[in-house]
């Protein structure tokens, strides 16, 4: 699945959900695994940086 789910976590950073090949749609996975009440975005994998050197400084707008 070439999509990711992005949301702001409670520690000030962003969390990125990586879906498994489990038979659920990305929307179903978002509904299940995003913490209750959190706003999220479904994005293409190409929008996620691959250089994780400063992973803790990532932000989402």
């Amino acid at each position: 699945m070439n999509q990711r789910i992005v949301y702001q976590n409670d520690e000030g950073g962003i969390s990125i959900i990586v879906p498994a090949d489990c038979g659920l749609t990305i929307e179903e996975i978002a509904a299940k695994d995003v913490p209750t009440g959190k706003a999220y975005n479904i994005v293409d994998i190409s929008e996620i940086p691959t250089d994780r050197t400063f992973r803790g400084a990532w932000t989402w707008q």
Binding site: S15, V18, C22, I29, G56
Partner: protein, 166 residues
């Protein structure tokens, strides 16, 4: 050929039996064999469900109850984080460097399960350990995993492997 007992769904329905002298018995549903019994062993085809404890020997030395892996995942933590293989997992959450949440498809019955965690080092002079994140709470629906180097600093390993036993 084999003798068979078929729970038929066609024609008049009901149980249809056929017989031969091969010594093999097939238990069938709608003419498809789901259990084959022979002197050489028993074969179950398709999904099996057993509500009792599963016991077997298989080199253990005696027949004893076996405890299954209830969820597992293999993913890479570097570059584009991605799941290579999994079972009973809907996703992992990348919370930051060396900080991941494993999300179960079917929840554990309680939080007293045992995660087994391993990592793949990123090079000959590196070391990475995995553990349940020290300040997290194990939940029935997920568990949070931390990976650190010798410093200890949170580090992304090129492989993270988690199996949940309960």
């Amino acid at each position: 050929m084999a003798s068979s007992i078929n729970a038929s769904t066609s024609g008049a329905g009901g149980v249809i039996t056929t017989a031969d002298n091969t010594g093999i018995l097939n238990i069938q549903s709608a003419a498809s064999t789901v259990l084959a019994i022979a002197s050489s062993g028993t074969t179950v085809t398709g999904t099996g469900s057993y509500s009792g404890n599963l016991s077997f020997n298989s080199g253990y030395g005696s027949t004893a109850v076996a405890y299954g892996c209830r969820a597992w995942v293999n993913f890479n933590g570097t570059g584009t984080v991605a799941i290579r293989g999994s079972g009973n997992v809907t996703s992992i959450t990348d919370n930051g460097a060396g900080d991941y949440t494993m999300n179960f498809t079917t929840a554990m019955p309680d939080v007293n399960y045992a995660p087994a965690i391993a990592t793949q080092r990123n090079g000959v002079n590196s070391a990475v350990w995995g553990s349940v994140k020290y300040d997290s709470t194990m939940a029935t629906s997920n568990v949070r995993i931390a990976t650190v180097d010798v410093s200890p600093t949170s580090t992304d390993p090129q492989g993270v492997f988690v199996a949940i036993f309960r």
